[in-house]
Amino acid sequence: MAFHEKQVPADASAAVKLMAWVDSRLPVTEAFKRHMSEYYAPKNLNFFYIFGALAIVVLAIQIITGIFLTMNYKPDAAKAFESVEYIMREVPFGWLIRYMHSTGASMFFVVVYLHMFRGLIYGSYRKPRELIWIFGCAIFLALMGEAFFGYLLPWGQMSYWGAQVIVNLFSAIPLIGPDLSLWLRGDYVVGDATLNRFFAFHVIAIPLVLIGLVAAHILALHEVGSNNPDGVEIKNTLDANGHPVDGIPFHPFYSVHDVMYLGGFLIIFASIVFFAPEMGGYFLEANNFIPANPFVTPTHIAPVWYFTPFYSMLRATTTNFLLPLWIFLAVILGMFALQSKDMKVKGACAVIAVVLAAGFYALDAKFWGVVIMGGSVVILFFLPWLDHSPVKSIRYRPQFHKYIYGTFIATFVVLGYLGIEPPSPLYEKISQICTIYYLGFFLAMPFWSKLGTFKPVPTRVTFKSH
């Protein structure tokens, strides 16, 4: 195809001419229209829809502050701890950059958890948005990796022993485990080699993946359009121009809306950075102000708060827990077998139950703890196919669904709390019950999600003018 230079009148301004010149070579104006000024978003998006935009802002904060931290940080076991204090004391505004980065890490998870919660209650993962959800889950996984690798870098006691505990988890994998964890660490204990490779993962490998996934997440979103609190497809009702009747251009309406909430978010963010950067020991742990010491194990090793729900499930998986866990999984498999008419599915369920029984008997509970912890994240990927309810949004679901969702959120918070606390027999029991509930919520979703009387979903969104 021949090159086509965009024509502008001879008396057009220099800016118009320049834009025409660029647009002929790179469709900047078209992209802006497609993703901003002519991207139609439902007009009834509520408060819970701000967290996607906020997540991008936090990502930007992390990348920019991260670049400046990298200029002064030393990824060397002998110098890392001191270099962080050097940043805090001698680099002009280094303390601000560092606190923004440490606060940003926690706030990233606050924002992402709320973003996921929104997706969960309004059915944003349902057809045709399965890929958006999958990219989102991949972002969450990458973010967990990013946070984990980054947490080693200050080289404090919690950094060190947290990494030690997590890398040791891989040694629970049968046969290859011990060699695998050795390979990951690059040493027999977490050491200088580990710090250097974690630094590489933290500053370049994972961020590249993360940015790629975020781009894919947004492109997929803009392809199918945003969901909304009613779970109504706005593209089903178009006006004469072919635009959704219930849609409004993202820019300026949602850009100005997001900027307003960004102001509120930054007020909270700045309050933490300037007045409570340690956040009572949750964002910066006291033990991490003691330099890493391979010879002194802290009495209580807890991961940072955003990992604790999953860490709780790992800890809950003790030898005593394997039998109840197997019974629970066997019941779920039995329900799948009963529901299916296909003999192959029935057979597969039976085989899985037997294999699990053999595995629970033969392998260490620690290994199954790792499987449960990993599985509790991986299971999120399958949500679009687990939910069989006829409606997307919680607004039109039966009352008892709301209780199930409410209990699920409570369970997640309780697991998070228990993961912070030192273990005790009572807490162990509670975390085991919560683990079963967490897994049951997803695994039994194909059954409970279609039960009950659903309210009729309107064809248009519900919207009250401001």
Partner: protein, 271 residues
Amino acid sequence: MNAQHIGKEKLGTSMKRILQNLKGICQVTILVTTLGFGLNASAGEGGYPLDKAPDRIGQNASLQNGAKIFTANCVGCHSAASMRYNRLRDIGLTDQQIKEGYISGDAKIGDLIISALNPKDAKAAYGKAPPDMSVEARARGTDWLYTYFRTYYKDDTTPSGWNNLVYPNVAMPHVLASMQGIRVAKFENRKDLHDPEKVERVFVKFDQISPGSMTNEEFDSNMGDLVSFLSWMAEPVQLERKRLGIFVLLFLAIFTLLAWRLNKAYWKDIK
């Protein structure tokens, strides 16, 4: 009049909505914060309840006194390797004052606070290298330090001849004994309420054997100054941080207010 009234009412309802939304965020923040403060109430390793340390970070006279106690008594063994002597300017001292009153040996004003004691020798002498003090207050907490400094007692069963209620069998001797004087601790054997077989050794009181240069009240107050200094040293920028924070929040409040009105102006046409 009427239109104005309606305008006000609409302003009120949208205010309410935003406040409700903000309430959500605040609740999460408060939840996280309260969880955080729950963690703080604690006892030392020895099970001895911690006293509340005074916070004198804003008081330069106290910080200067704390710095004096620190450089005179602690730097002999402990470094504060992230801290430079000239940072003491931030607590109201001049270079001249720092040189004359706070630096011993041939260290220069711009040097890091490095102890003359070689860590290897220290390890040989005490079995453990004295920890760096730069961020010790952030690791231990001020209450721990304040109680720790004030609960030393004479104990002939330990290598140093001293023991501590908060940090049992601590390697460090009671360096400040000349100020506090020498005390012994009285313990009592008590039966465990839950398990009569077990006998607990419970601290009852201190007995002063020989007086120090200070009264108990004076010593406590000086330890308050020392702890405040250590806490200040753990993050010398903390006062500046809070001062700057107020301006940042003011700016953000105005920004948010304008963004709110702008949002309002755009959305008024969306029916």
